[in-house]
């Protein structure tokens, strides 16, 4: 593959002594959408949480192997520096309930104690909210609490919060599983429009979603990377019998 942005080498992840990811070797292509799919408990969320080292915050969470971002192994970096370069959006929309919409967008700067001038902050907020296709809906209520928004709007606010830090990669952990079909479609469109400026990795339970938006798809089963390739090829001509069975709904 030419010019991948993230490369994992023999990546293993543990909870205590329990091995949940077995030697994952994966190359995530730059400025594309990559879907990670698989049945519950296959380790797809854990894999995603390895990329920004959130896995290490879980009790007993441990990572072995290498994850290359450019030419640095992110496992040798300070996790805080990694998380500024790789943003994340969670399963349940989680804007900070104590902050306004405006403050939620620049929360990354505030939390890290980075000082912004008023003009800079305004600019970042507008750019991030426009990026997340939320600007027109909230531009008049920027100083109200984010928790008054609908679920779909809250999730787009969370995407704006991640975008505001200008990350190289955004990780999304089943970002639409708590949303209705209309809000889901809106987020899917948004992700497609974002891939020209940021690499997107999305964990999904939903085969249809992977098919609709992902350029590449990885199929994980019982902590193993079964198959990885362009979505179209993987969906139409899976090489592994387990992939085929999963896609045809025999398990999962």
């Amino acid at each position: 593959m030419e010019n991948p942005i993230l490369i994992t080498e023999n990546l293993k992840a543990y909870y205590g002594n329990h091995l949940v990811l077995k030697d994952i070797n994966l190359e995530i292509p730059r400025l594309n959408i990559t879907a990670i799919m698989g049945p519950s408990g296959c380790g797809k969320t854990t894999l995603l949480r390895c990329f920004n080292r959130l896995h290490e915050l879980s009790p007993g969470g441990r990572i072995e192997g290498q994850i290359w971002l450019g030419d640095t192994d992110i496992l040798s970096l300070d996790p805080i520096m990694v998380r500024r370069r790789i943003g994340m959006v969670f399963q349940r929309p989680n804007p900070f309930p104590t902050m306004s919409i405006y403050d939620n967008v620049i929360a990354g700067y505030k939390l890290n104690g980075m000082k912004l001038s008023r003009v800079e902050a305004d600019e970042i907020v507008e750019r991030a909210l426009r990026g997340a296709a939320l600007w027109d809906e909230v531009k008049d209520i920027l100083h109200r609490r984010g928790t008054f928004l609908s679920g779909g709007q809250q999730q787009r606010l969370c995407i704006a919060r991640a975008l505001a830090m200008n990350p190289e990669v955004i990780l999304l952990d089943e970002p639409t599983s708590a949303l209705d079909p209309k809000a889901t479609a809106h987020i899917e469109e948004l992700l497609i429009s974002l891939k020209s400026r940021v690499t997107i990795i999305i964990v999904t339970h939903n085969i249809g979603q992977a098919g609709r938006i992902a350029d590449y798809t990885a199929f994980l089963y019982l902590g193993e990377l079964v198959e990885f390739g362009p979505t179209e090829r993987l969906f139409t001509a899976p090489k592994d019998r387990r992939t085929e069975e999963y896609l045809s709904g025999k398990f999962g």
């Binding site: 805080i80 998380r83 989680n94 309930p97 104590t98 505030k110 939390l111 609490r145 919060r161």
Partner: protein, 293 residues
């Protein structure tokens, strides 16, 4: 059959609830009735003068009011750094595991120690220690007094603030904390910008509960406060709180007006804690983070 038991249960629950209400209002009415003579005798000077001389039938309760407020507030202020540290330590940094359970039961144990034991300890350990400090400072070395009482109170109320604040801190949704971590926040930044803003009303509730405890605490305070019915001039002076003056003088209140004066102090204490409680509830309601979704 089912309906009958339902009706019966309903009646029992109702009458118990109403019974509680009657008890509290009865208590209040009794206090008011028995406090009336002293108010008739001294009028509002009961509240605003500071001479308490039962022999000359002069009853000014201001020193006790002031003594109560100073000891309780000082006690809470002294306890805060400790109780909040314990709460964050057990709620955020070590919410589970053997170490956590050990510390948790140790703090909870503090709440179970009878207050007379705190009083004894204060009298025999803290008071002599305060005496040494007072000698160093070149002031009258009473040993007992407001400062000693506040220190004892501080220790007594640590478990209240600590356990409530701990539970509130534990309730902060982990996905909010993770959202902050995912933006590159350090642990301290997560505590400062996510945990504290989310939990502050609950933490305040714990502090107010502790303040209520401190205001009403009787035995331990009576033993170490020095029982002097004068307006305190410094925090090292002996004084009296509303609770301690009642405990100390009730048995020797020989005439009706003296007794009535003590009951009026009790009424004051009752109103004081009630208002504190209501204020606390109001503050918590105002500050609670609304989470709609």
């Amino acid at each position: 059959m089912k309906q009958l038991s339902d009706t019966l249960f309903n009646a029992v629950v109702r009458s118990c609830a109403i019974g509680t209400l009657i008890l509290v209002s009865g208590l209040c009415v009794t206090l008011v009735i028995h406090a009336m003579p002293v108010f008739r005798h001294s009028g509002l000077s009961f509240l605003f003068t500071s001479t308490w001389d039962p022999l000359r039938q002069q009853f000014g309760a201001l020193p006790f009011l002031v003594g109560t407020v100073i000891t309780a507030v000082l006690g809470v202020l002294i306890s805060l750094p400790f109780s909040l540290s314990i709460a964050f330590f057990l709620g955020e940094y070590f919410p589970s595991g053997k170490l956590s359970i050990f510390f948790q039961s140790a703090t909870d144990l503090l709440a179970g120690i009878p207050s007379v034991i705190y009083g004894f300890w204060g009298l025999f350990v803290v008071a002599p220690f305060m005496q040494k400090i007072e000698i160093r400072l070149g002031i009258m070395p009473y040993g007992v007094g407001i400062a000693t009482a506040s220190i004892i109170l501080a220790i007594m109320i640590v478990p209240y603030t600590a356990s409530i604040a701990r539970e509130i801190i534990k309730l902060v949704p982990s996905d909010l904390k993770e959202a902050a971590y995912a933006l590159g926040a350090t642990r301290w930044e997560v505590v400062r910008h996510v945990v504290i803003p989310y939990a502050h009303s609950g933490i305040l509730a714990g502090i107010l509960l502790a303040l209520g405890r401190a205001i009403g605490e009787t035995m331990a305070v009576t033993m170490v406060i020095g029982n002097r019915n004068e307006f305190p001039k410094s925090i090292f002076d002996p004084a009296n709180t509303m609770a301690s003056v009642i405990a100390n003088e009730f048995a020797e209140a020989s005439d009706d007006i003296y007794l009535s004066a003590l009951i009026a102090v009790a009424l004051l204490l009752f109103l004081f804690t009630t208002v504190m409680n209501m204020f606390g509830r109001f503050v918590i309601k105002k500050l609670t983070v609304r989470q709609e979704s």
